[in-house]
Amino acid sequence: MSFPLLTATAVLPALGAVATAAVPAARRTAAKWLALLVSLATLVLAAVVAVRFEPGGARYQLTETYEWIPAFGVRWELGVDGIGVALLLLTALLIPFIVLAGWHDADPSPSSPPRSSGGHPKENANNRWRPTQGFFALILMVEAMVILSFEATDVFLFYIFFEAMLIPMYFLIGGFGDRAHQGGEEAAATQRSYAAVKFLLYNLAGGLIMLAAVIGLYVAAGSFSLPDIVAARASGELEMGTNTERLLFLGFFLAFAVKAPLWPLHTWLPNAMGEATAPVAVLITAVVDKVGTFAMLRFCLGLFPEASKWATPVVLVLALVSIVYGALLAVGQRDIKRLVAYASISHFGFIILGIFVMTSQGQSGATLYMVNHGISTAALMLVAGFLISRRGSRLIADYGGVQKVAPVLAGTFLVGGLATLSLPGLAPFVSEFLVLVGAFARYPVVGVVATFGIVLAALYTLVLYQRTMTGPVKPELAKLPDLRVRELAVVAPLIALLIFLGVYPKPLTDLVNPAVRHTMSDVQEHDPEPEVEAAK
């Protein structure tokens, strides 16, 4: 039994979370550094995983299997395919930046004396409420659970962490809201808890319906092990009735569609991203939501190929609606973070589209999209966060001419925006174009409609940039400081990565292609042949 690498990647941040939470109240900075170190160490482990993983090799590698709850047929069964590795890397990569970006977000604000007991000086003395420690501990806890849900090849195991990650997320959203809020601390608090509850209820409802499906799956398949079930289905020794399969598919898909989020189940995202601090917003959209799309690719298609095909038309339509609808709403937003949220909804539409057009370009594109969208949104959102924390407002109208006073900030913001509108040469272009081609190859109309998304993306991004960064400088912004070293350290690597993956995505595609081949064989689909076999 070799070293349980995958388990380690998850256990490390979990322990880190506990340790961070245990740091005494006074030693706030220590907690921050601890969290940062842990996240970096996790990144290292993830890198090791990526190195040990052979793209050409077996479908699931570095597998580990321990009995956990035999009574439920649940095993601690981990394993990664290319897609898993890619997303594992993304997660492990983003968390350090999130930690670094959120460095001061959870410091007890001087204005409203420590977020604890409303003005009890006596109690503040022996106040045991430690927001900072909690904040970073929760982030690490989320990381651990997300990583596990990327690694789990046991449906039940996946489900457990899919659900459990809601709780720390919920506290992150509800407990550490965006200080830059119109309407004072009171309004902020109510809005925040509304957003948190909305987030939790949406996802919990989806998750519980999925629970029914999970149970149903066990009744139908007698096992939770994804590889076993897939193999059994392929070999035909496991027969699900058509209706059973469809119902189970719906149960799973619903949960993932809420998480993803797919129109019309998306409305929790803008609230959550708007109210949460920028790093947490990144955590939501760049990391946690990816679990949803990832799960569609791995579980919906893997477990219920027939039902997936059956549902494809509807899903495609919903995805298209998400793309256009999200983009249009992004244009209509007055709040920077909500704008980014709707943009993300549009992008998730692309991802889901890529997954369900059932072409290898589409699915590779979707997978790359998950990674690239993670990075690009992180870049854009974090810079936006830095901007917001400077001005103390989220309203686009409160900005203008920032480019003049803080050129570096504006520049990075622009690059993030260009990535969001998937400019060729930046990573998102590769994935978006693959998705479009993949879609077009099977459903030309769908492809064309989706292409409108790129125009709208340009619209909302450039409008945002124009209104905030260009034009005459607003007097309140005259003294706006440019990016600090810490902030630059967050943004620069992300941008570098965007450019690199845009010019040379080969490492990623090499990782993903075999996995996509497997998925395609799961759903027994082949890419449509080109009309003429061009003279190569």
């Binding site: 409305t267 209509g332 290898s360 081609v437 292409t451 409108f452 125009v455 003429v532 061009a534």
Partner: protein, 645 residues
């Protein structure tokens, strides 16, 4: 030798990277670095050109395969470059004119504290443009295509503190995006049809697929071309693009980028040849734009906007020519090159004028400047003669060829197109003469300017420009490039045209075939010259003989429409902008009330149900007992019923 292609692109790219990431410490040397790298890439281009000349006409195609860009199942996109006569021509044009304009900018942007960044953007543009013309497949071309779009966005909006500039930049990018949609759809079509989008296989196997597909592809490519080359209906951005610094207008919006559309069409010639319907559309678009641009050019008082209109119209010529098929491709490119010379020269001249006139752009506030800036006057004048097709100068050769080819299209189409091009030539002569006269001749209107008068709100009070200007000649660093370009605009045409040197050079790529106009070439030439003279005469009658009012007269309906770009902007504003705003606003409402409302409604419903059910819990033990009793009764009844059924 093909290994030189990558460095050719890398040089300006490096410049861009260094200048943009370098930070303030490079402010001192920034412009020199930029210029040096631009020149370097020109030198490399020259070397390659020499190399090509050293080869036989047939194997003048170099391919450099760098690496595999996006390797995915059944999808191959490589970073590979292809240098043939066509791209070579462009390389020389881009790097040559580019370098000149770099030099020019050193002087022009001297007082701008963000000069380093400006040069960074210029280098970025060069790199992107080179990628565009050197790409070996359509996807990589797309990369360059959007790259130049980005550079143009950054440069148009270079003076971001001016809202007008920012808006113009955004507009340019968005309109181009619409065109890009066309390009990406075209690429998808190629992929699904041919399984690839590299030039050789696609263009090689055109014959194996139906005309319908090809027409679709061609039209999509045309859409892209319209966006980039400011052809109707996507031309609206070019006028506003003049918000950018003048060197930018010269390089990007006159000489190089806007001609990318022509390049795309010529490059995809094989597809268009197989899709005659599409070709017809191309010619129509070209013809319409030709007239459209010309008319706009006649009405504008802003010197740069007038030139922009002319650019539009000249590119219309090229597109029209490209639409003619093998007869026209080479001709189109030839006009493109010559136009590159004289239009760049004209813009630089305009820039020089503005430089000397405190950035005044309104020609009605010029006049009689020839004494004050002789070099500018001469170079500008040569460019002017070239563009109106004065016999012997470069414009004469290229435009004349286009007109011939138009007639040579044959049949009714031929006659129509030919006439249009002729008329266009006339109008060109008219508006260029107008510019010439208003700027360099007549009384010196700038001496006594009126204050802003309510009846003419578009007239800015002179105070804005720092009192009465003191027109003066620009420094050497600016005049030298102008001189060089003027040189080009004088002799390039003859050099290319005599003995059809140019078309033969391009023949291997664009398969030139000599057109046979229904009337002899001589007649056509004669007609052209006559029309040109008429145009000049009319212009002189209107602007030479009588003094030009400082405040623009109200003018005829057409004039007023032309001043507003023939109302196309208003149309866009009403239909797209307003409509879009309404759409988004209503959608926001829908999202909040409907989509969200459903969920909140459900929640509220459950809550209401809950509070209604609570009332049953009325605290009276006896009512609890009743419910128990009733429950028992139900239980019993149900059990018995179960047995009954």
């Amino acid at each position: 030798m093909e290994n030189l292609i990558a460095p050719l692109i890398a040089a300006p790219l490096l410049g861009a990277a260094v200048l943009l990431c370098g930070g303030r410490r490079l402010d001192k040397a920034g412009h020199w670095i930029g210029t040096a790298l631009a020149v370097a890439s020109f030198v490399l281009g020259a070397v390659l050109f020499a190399g090509l000349l050293g080869r036989g006409a047939e194997d003048r195609t170099l391919v450099q395969h760098l690496f595999s860009w996006i390797p995915v199942e059944g999808f191959q996109a490589d970073v590979a470059f292809r240098l043939d006569q066509l791209s070579m021509t462009f390389v020389l044009l881009i790097t040559g004119v580019g370098s000149l304009i770099h030099v020019y900018s050193i002087g022009y942007m001297e007082h701008d504290e963000r000069r380093r960044r400006f040069f960074g953007y210029l280098n970025l543009f060069l790199a992107a443009m080179l990628i565009l013309v050197l790409a070996d497949n359509y996807l990589l071309l797309y990369l360059g295509w959007e790259g130049v779009g980005l550079a143009s966005y950054l440069l148009i909006g270079f003076w971001q503190h001016k809202p007008s500039a920012a808006t113009a930049a955004k507009k340019a990018f968005l309109v181009n995006r619409v065109g890009d949609m066309g390009l990406s759809i075209a690429i998808m079509l190629m992929f699904t049809t041919f399984g690839t989008f590299a030039f050789t296989p696609v263009l090689g196997s055109v014959g194996e697929t139906g005309e319908g597909t090809l027409t679709a592809i061609a039209l999509m490519l045309l859409l892209a071309a319209c966006g980039k080359s400011a052809q109707v209906p996507l031309q609206s951005w070019l006028g506003d693009a003049m918000e950018g610094p003048t060197p930018v207008s010269a390089l990007i919006h006159a000489a190089t980028m806007v001609t990318a559309g022509v390049y795309l069409i010529v490059r995809s010639g094989a597809i268009f040849n197989a899709a005659p319907d599409a070709q017809l559309v191309v010619t129509v678009v070209g013809a319409v734009t030709l007239i459209f641009g010309a008319i706009v050019g006649c009405a504008k008082d802003d010197i740069k906007k007038a030139l922009a209109g002319s650019t539009m119209s000249q590119i219309g010529y090229m597109v029209l020519a490209a639409g003619l098929g093998p007869i026209g491709y080479a001709v189109a490119i030839m006009h493109l090159v010559t136009h590159g010379f004289f239009k760049a020269g004209l813009f630089l001249g305009a820039g020089s004028v503005m430089h000397g006139m405190n950035d005044e752009v309104d020609m009605r506030r010029y006049g009689g400047l020839r004494k004050y800036m002789p070099v500018t006057f001469v170079t500008f004048g040569l460019g002017y003669l070239a563009i109106i097709g004065f016999p012997g100068l470069s414009g004469f050769f290229s435009k004349d060829l286009i007109i011939e080819s138009a007639f040579a299209k044959g049949g009714v189409q031929g006659w129509i197109l030919g006439t249009v091009t002729l008329v266009g030539a006339g109008i060109t002569a008219f508006y260029m003469t107008r510019v010439m006269l208003m700027t360099f001749f007549g009384e010196e209107r700038w001496r006594n300017l009126p204050a802003a008068s309510p009846d003419a709100p578009d007239v800015e009070p002179a105070a804005d420009h720092g009192g009465v200007p003191h027109p003066h000649e620009s420094p050497k660093v600016m005049t030298v490039p102008m001189i060089v370009l003027a040189f080009g605009s004088v002799f390039a045409g003859a050099f290319f045209g005599i003995g059809e040197r140019f078309v033969h050079w391009l023949e291997p790529v664009t398969a030139y075939e000599h057109g046979h106009p229904p009337v002899s070439a001589l007649t056509v030439t004669a007609a052209t010259v006559t029309v040109m003279v008429i145009g000049v005469g009319l212009a002189w009658l209107q602007y030479g003989r009588r003094p030009v009012p400082v405040v623009a007269p109200r003018g005829s309906l057409l004039t007023r429409a032309a001043r507003r770009d023939l109302l196309q902007d208003d149309f866009n504003h009403v239909v797209l902008v307003r409509g879009g705003e309404h759409l988004t606003r209503s959608l926001v409402y829908v999202d909040h009330t409907l989509v969200d409302g459903v969920v909140n409604g459900t929640a509220a419903g459950v809550g209401g149900l809950s509070s209604r059910m609570r009332r049953l819990q009325n605290g009276f033990a006896r009512s609890y007992a009743v419910s128990m009793f009733g429950g028992t009764a139900l239980l019993v009844a149900a059990t018995l019923l179960m047995r009954a059924v």
